[in-house]
């Protein structure tokens, strides 16, 4: 009979009336009818097979033999109550930098973690020389890595477009053997057809910031004089989306807050504007617009609504909502899943003057400075702390969490900013992660229902 030796290795949940189990260690996803779901719930809760049998007889008036056989088969095949795959702490090596080319912004979005672009310091732009030195630093410290990543960030990185352009050319010409992956995160206001053409031709992916329709966007995304930015940026962002219609080279990314929790409407509004690649992320702040525990039930309902509408709308035209991207066949390996985002070791941020921070969200927090691009990493002790924090199982609260192989232990910057400790998970963020994973699993199931040959029996 099935062994319930590790109760935490199975996560049972319902979503939009469907019943699921996620086998945590193998990633297997199962969908149940009512009696089988009830049986497994009872078994997990009580630990007694007899109580589960008795309960199912009383509730459904059926014999459990058939259901038990199905469970036994799944356990035998390692699909349910599976044992963990062997994994270990990876030896992380630098491969990715965020170039904060502009400590300056032409917007003054009220929720901005970068303190309206300046990162709490005087405004500055990165010179092409510093950017080139950052590329040299990346190449020098990434031995053995084939693909290297550079993200142009700010503030508003297009304020330093000359630096962006020169950096891309320099990287490609100076290090032609490397596979370069460039991204840029912009508010879109300074985009021109020429700039977009350059970015497109150089395979630069774009993250375009837009929070939704005019009313939603202009609530927080404003100019320095308080004026809303939607009318200003929408035509430019739209032009990029049209230009890149068939590629996967852009995302329209919005931020939602306590005051704009209606993410199903926001996402559908963006989709109805014609965007095909959409992402919405919660603001992370201690300010009054930050998400709190009280907001979670509403958010859960919003995810359920959005997931349903998303599946329905796919029948008309395909589009992507980033949280629902969950590839059950080609997802990351388990090693990747247990070794975090790489902040501080595999991934670092460089400020305009060349200072190195563990990631873009740490830029400007002086006590987290790791070194600079000219002398390298000097604060080895802090880097070691980040190295340890990247490994999922070094975070006590993550060890038994069912979502651990999807969030990989969460965002170290969020942990630091909300709890003052990179090893202490930001609980609201954890709860939101769990919602979005359940939603994504539901979406996968529904999508496969539409293509039944992809399911296995």
């Amino acid at each position: 009979m099935i062994d319930r030796s590790d109760k935490t290795s199975v996560h049972l949940f319902t979503f939009n009336g469907e019943r699921f189990a996620l086998d945590v260690n193998s990633g297997s996803l199962l969908n149940f009818d009512k009696p089988s779901f009830y049986f497994l719930s009872e078994f997990l809760n009580s630990g007694s097979i007899d109580l589960a049998r008795q309960g199912i007889k009383e509730k459904f008036n059926i014999d459990t033999e058939e259901i038990e056989k199905e469970f036994e088969t799944l356990v035998e095949q390692g699909i349910l109550f599976s044992k963990p795959i062997p994994y270990f702490e990876s030896n992380l090596t630098l491969k990715s930098i965020c170039l904060n080319v502009a400590h300056s912004c032409n917007f003054a979005c009220t929720y901005c973690f970068a303190k309206k672009g300046s990162y709490g310091d005087s405004e500055s732009l990165m010179t092409p020389e510093n950017a080139k030195a950052a590329i040299d630093f990346l190449v020098k410290n990434s031995e053995g890595k084939g693909a290297l990543e550079v993200d142009f960030f700010g503030g508003e990185p297009l304020l330093a477009f000359n630096t962006v352009k020169k950096t891309i050319k320099y990287a490609k010409i100076s290090y032609p053997d490397k596979k370069w992956r460039f991204t840029i995160t912009t508010n879109g206001s300074l985009l021109t057809p020429d700039k977009e053409q350059f970015l497109y031709e150089n395979d630069v992916s774009i993250v375009l910031s837009l929070d939704g329709n005019k009313e939603t966007n202009d609530r927080f995304r404003v100019l320095k004089n308080g004026q809303g930015t939607f009318d200003f940026v929408f035509p430019k962002i739209n032009e990029v989306a049209i230009h890149r219609k068939k590629s996967e080279g852009y995302y329209v990314r919005g931020t939602y807050t306590k005051e704009t929790l209606e993410i199903s409407k926001i996402a559908m509004d963006l989709r109805n504007m014609g965007f095909k690649f959409i992402s919405l992320e919660p603001v992370v702040t201690k300010d009054k617009i930050g998400i709190t525990k009280e907001d979670l039930p509403k958010l859960k309902m919003e995810y359920e609504k959005l997931a349903k509408e998303y599946v329905e709308s796919q029948k008309e035209e395909k589009w992507k909502f980033f949280h629902f991207n969950l590839d059950l066949e080609a997802g990351p390996c388990v090693q990747k899943r247990v070794n975090g985002c790489g902040a501080g070791v595999e991934y670092v941020a460089v400020s305009p003057n060349g200072d190195i921070f563990p990631c873009h969200q740490f830029d400007g927090i002086k006590e987290t400075k790791l070194g600079d691009i000219f002398t390298g990493i000097t604060n080895k002790k802090l880097q070691d702390k980040f190295r340890r924090a990247n490994y999922l199982f070094n975070k006590e609260e993550c060890k038994d969490c069912w979502a651990r192989f999807y969030c990989s232990g969460g965002c170290l910057a969020n942990n630091y900013n909300m709890n003052g400790d990179i090893l202490k998970p930001y609980q609201i963020g954890c709860e939101i992660q769990k919602m979005r994973i359940e939603a994504a699993l539901y979406v996968q199931y529904k999508s496969m229902e539409l293509s039944p040959f992809r399911t296995s029996a």
């Binding site: 990633g27 199962l30 084939g146 992956r181 080609a330 390996c333 090693q335 070794n339 969030c407 199931y445």
Partner: protein, 54 residues
């Protein structure tokens, strides 16, 4: 099976010799920027993409 449908069968066991190559996208290069979304990514070996946001 009559009562249970298998939607995904042990996807984490789908590993090859490139296991731990870490050639895939760094999470913060994606559309998130403020959370870790490794679960939303793809394996670069199994599904290479030209432009790296997916």
């Amino acid at each position: 099976m009559k009562h249970i449908k298998v939607i995904a069968k042990k996807p984490f066991w789908n590993i090859d010799k490139r296991h731990d190559c870490r050639e895939c996208q760094t999470p913060c290069k994606s559309a998130c920027k403020t959370s870790v979304t490794i679960g939303n990514q793809v394996c670069e070996i199994k599904k290479p993409v030209k432009r790296w946001i997916w």
